[in-house]
Symmetry: C2
């Protein structure tokens, strides 16, 4: 292997992290900095917590300041960026475009029609069209995704694994419809399927059915499955779980979580495994 080949894009030059809400963006910034790369954080106003990034260079941007962000990325000779973190529905004021952003609007107006995939593809293609390489969090920090096998001490039983496999088949069947990142199965049945409400709301729905006696889930039964849709762009739209997911799964009386290994964000795996152990849940990564 020549020395030129050894210099891969992910080890070269500064990395920009366009950061939404949650723990994932600071964690990614910290891992990238630990790899010796200069990191520049563009914290999205109203979403990212700008105090969570330690010593990283950081500016806050409204969505309407896209033009200003591009100028700054070029000034810093950034070639690679990552979009990570959740984005609450932006306020009208946040969207209000500055003069330097107006010219980019037609691109996004087109992308706003259709499913989530369509919109996110539009965002990726925009940055690529501006000459940037869009990396996924898994490209920079593979340890932030679900590993294969059990995350904590508890592993899924053969029955639980069969239920997980069935759930993945279900999600695959939904993929062509650009829906279905998660589902809950119990008692050999599909109990809930996620659409626009999101994973947390879906788990809460099952918890309510159990609490009201409409649904019984036996001990050791009941799994949440989560996996990307076929063709989902994992660079900007990788499914994710976190401590809140585990809490809700535990409250709903499920036995654990099945994830596509390497294809679902978990953030801090050690912390999550510990939480799973405390709650008596399995978190199983399936290759």
């Amino acid at each position: 292997m020549s020395e030129t080949q050894a210099v891969t894009p992910s080890t070269r030059g500064p990395l920009a992290i366009i950061a939404g809400a949650g723990d994932f963006p600071p964690r990614l910034a910290s891992i990238a900095a630990g790899q010796g790369r200069p990191v520049y954080v563009a914290a999205l106003d109203g979403a990212a917590d700008p105090t969570a990034f330690g010593a990283a260079e950081l500016n806050i941007y409204r969505l309407g300041q896209l033009g200003r962000l591009l100028d700054e990325l070029r000034r810093r000779e950034v070639a690679e960026l990552v979009l990570i973190g959740s984005l609450p529905r932006p306020s009208f004021a946040a969207l209000r475009p500055e003069a330097s952003t107006l010219k980019y609007l037609p691109h996004f107006a087109k992308a706003f029609r259709g499913g989530d995939d369509h919109l996110l593809r539009g965002v990726v293609s925009f940055f690529e069209g501006q000459g940037f390489t869009v990396q996924g969090p898994a490209d920079i920090a593979p340890a932030m995704t679900a590993p294969a096998g059990a995350l904590g001490r508890r592993a899924a039983s053969p029955d639980q694994k069969a239920l997980i496999a069935r759930g993945f088949e279900l999600l695959a069947a939904l993929s062509p419809f650009d829906v279905g990142q998660a589902a809950i199965l119990a008692d050999h049945r599909v109990i809930a399927i996620e659409a626009a409400e999101g994973t947390d709301a879906m788990i809460r729905r099952v918890a309510e059915m159990v609490a009201s006696g409409r649904l019984r889930i036996a001990k050791g039964d009941g799994v949440l499955v989560k996996a990307p849709k076929d063709g989902q762009d994992l660079r900007v739209d990788m499914p994710a779980i976190g401590p809140q997911t585990l809490r809700l799964v535990s409250e709903a009386g499920l036995s654990g979580i099945g994830l596509r290994a390497g294809r679902v964000l978990i953030g801090d795996g050690a912390a999550l495994g510990k939480l799973a152990d405390q709650a008596g849940l399995f978190v199983e990564g399936v290759p």
Copy 2:
């Protein structure tokens, strides 16, 4: 055609209606009586309203009195029966089997594992095993199902029809998983998929997302689709809508409902069409 062939099962001898809750059982009893057939109603205790059946001969049965019901059906020389109406989760007392019912329990114990389809197949096979012919409401009263085309004055637009067709494709893709009788689509996307929560709860979920601003549905957009699963036994498990469905669809701000014609129960089509007109909704039966 010989005279023997003209005497079809549905015009011969008494019809037993094993009746659960709701308006469908009395309506079916009235239509069957209007066809000149003797009708015997077995009203399930705690579910059917025994006063709703007019002059029909009727007895009330707990589920645990299955043996007694079979004896009565044989005494009346009933060859055909229909199971219709909804069945709330039965109390433990209702299930307590009489001596004459005990011997049938192993059949049902086996049927209780697996999905809804499995359980209902078990009920049908039980009555068939006892020598009865199980008819569907549509066999007796086709007018109780969704007709092809618009039910009221309002018809689905080409865009709305495209959304309905997409919804039916989604439900077909879910069929192998024994789930998904209904879904809601809007803005070219799948918004909600029904699983264990039932259709009403699914519509309410969309109404709540709209009310909280998490979801916007434009005027004229948004449809509920409802269709049987492939292989669903329409004799005992035909999907249904009613006035409550229309109310919820209207509250959620959807534009209408797409149904598989002839394969979804609507009960009183004239009354439902009038309600749809009042609410400004379409109810479209798709062949």
